[in-house]
């Protein structure tokens, strides 16, 4: 098992390296690095200074070296708009996005698995068919419009939810979290719901298919022949068996959740990394865009790796053990 994980870790590093190269090429070779890295506001003298400082007059491979070196040191450029290092900006917004993605993911997993399981156990019942129909609706409705409609219903019409923004925060381990305050949670509900419904639908469908398949397996018949209660069979045997395909989906989805948060954050004016990205695209704050890319790539690699580890924990067959 360790060998497998080592290999995956190495692959992850490779992906980061490839992405860094691609980003470098995109910025330095294809784009005009002067436009991308030096603020358009700078005057001639500042530009010349910046060119020398950033090594833009050096050969390409030297620039690549500089890029890598500063990237490893955590320096991914300075924001034009805010004047602070881009990486600081992104890191300061990360907790908000992570909060949102996490709550949305938990929602999606719990609702999705439960719905898929119920539908899988009684596929021809009204509830089962309703759940499957609902799931198609769930992943067909565009994220942003869903958010708007929820705001319309709950904030404008019913006036029971805030229409946007992040709630109060409380510090924990040096970071501000809104999860820890009631007001914060109140503000989290609609955005997390919006972000989570799409994934919940997907997970429900995977859980449904998995449940249908597991119920046909001999070990479920044998469990019944042993006299186990339906509760035990579903809660332990079926659930554990469908966890494997579900976890695969979840792992990949958390990463894309962070990406989709871009839209949700914009709709709800949620001050996370995603909104920062959109704002930066608007204002052509390119260093931030570059920094965002690199940060997201690293996050993805880490998440994929974590999923691999989780996989080996859940499916004993994946662990390479000696035959007893």
């Amino acid at each position: 098992m360790l060998a497998f994980l080592f290999r995956r870790f190495g692959q992850g590093l490779l992906v980061v390296a490839v992405m860094a190269t691609l980003v470098f090429l995109g910025v330095y070779a294809l784009g005009n690095p002067i436009d991308i890295l030096i603020s358009p506001e700078a005057d001639q003298r500042e530009r010349e200074e910046a060119i020398i400082r950033l090594g833009l007059d050096q050969p390409l491979w030297v620039q690549f070296g500089l890029f890598v070196k500063s990237a490893l040191a955590g320096n991914l450029g300075t924001s034009f708009v805010h004047g602070v290092p881009a990486i600081d900006l992104i890191v300061s917004r990360m907790p908000a996005t992570l909060e949102l993605a996490l709550v949305a993911l938990v929602f999606a997993v719990v609702v999705g698995i439960t719905a898929g399981l119920i539908a899988g156990l009684k596929p021809r019942s009204l509830v089962g068919r309703g759940i499957m129909a609902g799931s198609i609706l769930g992943f067909s409705v565009p994220n942003f419009w869903l958010g708007l409609m929820l705001i319309l219903l709950f904030a404008v019409e019913l006036k029971i939810m805030p229409a946007g923004g992040r709630g109060e925060t409380r510090a924990f381990l040096g970071i501000q979290w809104s999860l820890l305050t009631v007001d914060g949670l109140h503000h989290l509900i609609l955005p997390a719901l919006t972000l989570g419904i799409y994934k919940a639908s997907f997970i429900a469908r995977v859980a449904y298919a998995g449940t249908r398949e597991v119920l046909l397996q001999d070990y479920v018949r044998f469990a019944r022949a042993k006299g186990l209660s339906q509760r035990r069979i579903v809660g332990v045997h079926v659930l554990k068996s469908i966890m494997i395909p579900v976890v695969t989906v979840i792992g990949l989805e958390f990463g894309s959740m962070i990406a989709f948060a871009v839209v949700t954050e914009t709709v709800f004016a949620w001050p996370g990394m995603g909104k920062l990205l959109i704002d930066s695209i608007y204002r052509l704050d390119r260093p931030v865009i570059v920094a965002y890319l690199m940060v997201v790539v690293v996050m993805f690699v880490v998440i994929n790796f974590a999923v691999d580890v989780l996989y080996t924990v859940l499916d004993p067959r994946v662990r390479v053990t000696r035959e007893v």
Binding site: D218, Y219, R221, F222, A225, K226, G227, S241, E323, V324
Partner: protein, 326 residues
């Protein structure tokens, strides 16, 4: 002595889009306590469905349409699921054919054995674990403590089947239904498992239904044999008598086609034709199309007729002349 299991005119049919599949179509037999019954039949004869029906495990689109199954006098057909659950695993146990699929691959052996115990008795985890350990030892698995913590894929086929047998006998059931448990195993392992099951059942007084298509297994193991064809039992009786002097032409054909019964160089005997598809059974005797003794009378389904000494057959033209000649 009262029989431990009485099956009377049991019919289990499957209702699918293209029609009705009469998998089990009027089966009756008894088993005495501690007796071993060999249930013989080819694929499609309905023997597996019969085993499932006894436990009430026939799933939609199939169901039991008629008949009765009584375990020491208690009727099982038509009882609610909650009631049947108490019989399953405790008073009637099963062992299936493919142990890789009967054991959940993502759960440990001890989990699966302990849950079988706690489903029927309120015992503590330690007590249950000790019983599981003893059960594994009883089926001949070395280092049972380590094996308990293992997963099914870490066992060989024969050992997995031993685990399944151990699980089945945890509650010392009155009846064990073994559905082709050795078909998927190597020949040497087969005989080990056979001997094991025989010994364990004898020791705990468990009646045994051994479902198989292999006559040789039945010959060595069973006290009585019942031959199934197209959803019905066509012959039943004590094993030695049936093998020596089979009544039904199908049974005769089966026994004649065993290769060891012929001298080298003789042509191997075969029963011509194929068994009918259970979805399209002919009226009358289902074996008639392949039977050398069939005639016009066989367009009507034969009734069960007894021939002394607990033998019976469904045939208008059984090989009785051999019997009377003796």
């Amino acid at each position: 002595m009262a029989p431990v299991l009485t099956v009377e005119n049991l019919k289990a049919h499957f209702f699918i889009r293209s029609g009705v599949v009469k998998a089990v179509d009027g089966v009756s037999f008894d088993i005495a306590p501690g007796e071993v019954l060999g249930l013989v039949g080819e694929s499609g004869s309905g023997k597996t469905v019969l085993g499932a029906s006894i436990l009430g495990l026939v799933d939609p689109p199939g169901r039991i349409v008629e008949g009765s199954v009584r375990l020491v006098g208690e009727e099982l057909v038509g009882r609610p699921e909650e009631v049947l659950r108490h019989y399953r695993g405790r008073r009637v146990a099963t062992v299936f054919q493919d142990p890789m699929m009967t054991l959940n691959p993502v759960l440990r052996i001890d989990t699966q054995m302990i849950e079988a115990i706690t489903a029927h008795e309120k015992v503590g985890g330690d007590v249950a674990r000790a019983r599981a350990r003893d059960a594994l030892a009883a089926v001949g698995i070395a280092s049972p403590d380590e094996r308990l913590r293992a997963y099914p894929h870490q066992f060989s086929g024969g050992m997995r089947q031993r685990v399944a047998i151990a699980m089945a006998l945890l509650h010392r059931p009155q009846l064990l239904i073994a559905d082709e448990p050795t078909t998927a195993l190597d020949v040497t392992i087969q005989s080990q498992i056979l001997a094991l099951v025989q010994a364990l059942c004898a020791e705990s007084g468990t009646a045994l239904i051994w479902i198989t298509h292999d006559l040789a297994v039945v010959a060595g193991l069973a006290d009585r044999v019942a031959v199934m064809y197209a959803g019905r039992i066509v012959e039943s009786g004590p094993v030695d008598a049936v093998f020596a002097r089979p009544l039904h032409p199908y049974t005769r054909g089966l026994i004649d086609s065993i290769p060891s019964r012929h001298r080298r160089g003789d042509a191997l005997a075969q029963i011509p034709g194929m068994p009918p598809s259970p979805a399209r059974l002919p009226d009358g005797c289902a074996f008639a199309p392949r039977c050398p003794r069939a005639d016009a009378a066989c367009t009507v389904a034969p009734l069960v007729s007894g021939y002394g000494a607990a033998r019976s057959t469904r045939c208008w033209h059984p090989h009785v002349e051999v019997e009377t000649a003796a």
